[in-house]
Symmetry: C2
Subunit: 350 residues, 2 copies
Amino acid sequence: MTLDVVARHAGVSLATASRALNGTTRVRDELRERVRAAADLLGYIPNAHAQALASSSSNTVGLICHDVGDPYFAAIADGVMRAAAEQDVLVMLASTFREPAREIEYVSILRAQRARAILLIGSGFQDRTWERALSAELDPYIRAGGRVAVVSRHRSVRADAVLPENRAGAAALARALLALGHRRFAVLSGPPELTTVADRLAGFREGLAEAGITLDRDCVVEGAFTRDGGYAAARELLARRARPTCVFGVTDVMAVGALAAFREAGIDVPADISLAGFDDIPLVRELTPPLTTVALPLTEMGQHAISLALREPHGQRSRVLRVGGEVVVRASTGPPPPDGTTNSGAGKGI
Amino acid sequence: MTLDVVARHAGVSLATASRALNGTTRVRDELRERVRAAADLLGYIPNAHAQALASSSSNTVGLICHDVGDPYFAAIADGVMRAAAEQDVLVMLASTFREPAREIEYVSILRAQRARAILLIGSGFQDRTWERALSAELDPYIRAGGRVAVVSRHRSVRADAVLPENRAGAAALARALLALGHRRFAVLSGPPELTTVADRLAGFREGLAEAGITLDRDCVVEGAFTRDGGYAAARELLARRARPTCVFGVTDVMAVGALAAFREAGIDVPADISLAGFDDIPLVRELTPPLTTVALPLTEMGQHAISLALREPHGQRSRVLRVGGEVVVRASTGPPPPDGTTNSGAGKGI
DNA sequence: GCGCTTTCAGAAAGCGCTTTCTGGTAAGGT
DNA sequence: ACCTTACCAGAAAGCGCTTTCTGAAAGCGC
């Protein structure tokens, strides 16, 4: 079913049929109706590829995230979908499974698809070669009129950005934890090459520094940016000598894993150890105890990203939107245990 | 940057350049290399729209789900993305926000995009008009060679399907709960027009019936298929006279809300009330207590869906894959309280 | 009533590819 | 040496639209 059949059926020319359906130019109302009726009758479905080709424009945007299954990305993706539905754009989804190379590959694919915008969600990697390769894809895309927006990632290219207050948020969290009386901290950190990790760590250190506390090497355990990564990191932490009274998981997802590890080890949160996260993914409210964290408006972040990218006047300069960073204190944090030696093994609770 | 520039640059014809890059036909190795080199040098990116138009084929599939932010759909989407990456297809994501009409609209959009397959994830609605309208979109699509796969939904059209053992699973769950000694049950049900709800309810009733127990009207509370829906339903349940010793949330997500409501009401799970869900979304393992549920291989379901849809010999008949249905007993269920009158208010613990 | 602008419809030229069809050349058979 | 196959490269015809350009008809002031 092509447009010219519809046109013939309606007794008008191909050009008129096109205009009638797209409403781009004035067409006599009677003709427009005739075309519409014919299209309906014939069950005409336009060919988006032909449209895109002829008009050299499309209304798809690409969404690249590290892992759709992760609640953090799922929440952002949800926001993107909402905004996309409003703006009548179609979203092409790409999940890199946390492999940097895949991200570059997907940018290339989305370029081929002539996506109107590409959204990069989540931390970038601190890796010169990777950055260069990514820019090599992104730069020509932008030069050709493509829009790029990043969420929670430093702008390596001329892109609009939605940036969480990673540093300030982590610092504020540190202050809040200090205020509870904690002095011995540990951090469950993610892959150090992720900029988000670096920022949050730096912020946390900054906050601690105000109280004259420094975090030594030993107190930072690295793990994957996943629930299991947090779990493993927490186990490793417990295996070390000095036990902290307060643990900061650089993402909520990691903190969730840590909570499980603590429970398994018979450590009570927050009586024995206080635990805090970052992101405020919906699930942390359901935990026992609910997690203290730094809140990010995840869904809004997704909405903003796509809106920024699609906003009309591209403007030569990129826009930056800073969001979140509020500390939300919940029951997973409390004062440190009386003597701070509630160590090893048994514990109470389950 | 178009192919003919590349061709000229490589000193070959447009046709040869096309063949060289797509490797579809034999081209002298030397020429192929020359074309590749030229393409690289010029930073050539093919135009997927032109390719699709010329070849009348594309390698995109559409994924329609009710809500990407929901962990259930996120897990399935994750599976879809994995399989898609393997098969080199691009996924267009659509989220209906649980509005039936949107689903139909998206099918139409995906038809215009000439998606190779359309994946419908999640329960359908029991609504004659809606079904008819959906079929009106799907049928011509299929007739035109499009593939449709549904996950967790009755096949209203000639589509491949990945079907959870909703009925058998719920029945098995009922048996397991009966075995614990429960006799007074309640169900937190979703919107009754969702087929999934109907199936699970029927299965649960079936299981109970084997012990001669019937579920009266009063014991089934309906709520939205969300965490908050479960929360609200649980509250409503508590407000009613007779209190059950065991509650079945037809989805884990609803059960999560119910758990929160119970906790708020000072009801201990499982000491006062046992609680079970369905789906086994990852998050339920993190709860306190972790939820007893009926497990579904969510990620695999997504993978299967896309594989089924893309499998070569379309076969005139549709394929059905039944999955899941195993009861996973965790700590949220236990024997009923001694006298079954641990009612109202106070309770213990938080 | 005459030239003017204005409005709307059609013809036709692409958009950037794939693919069929045709032709040329080298290899193989006799 | 001649004809057949086989293989590879080029010409050209679309794929299904949008959009520019052109033209016809109608509205308007004088």
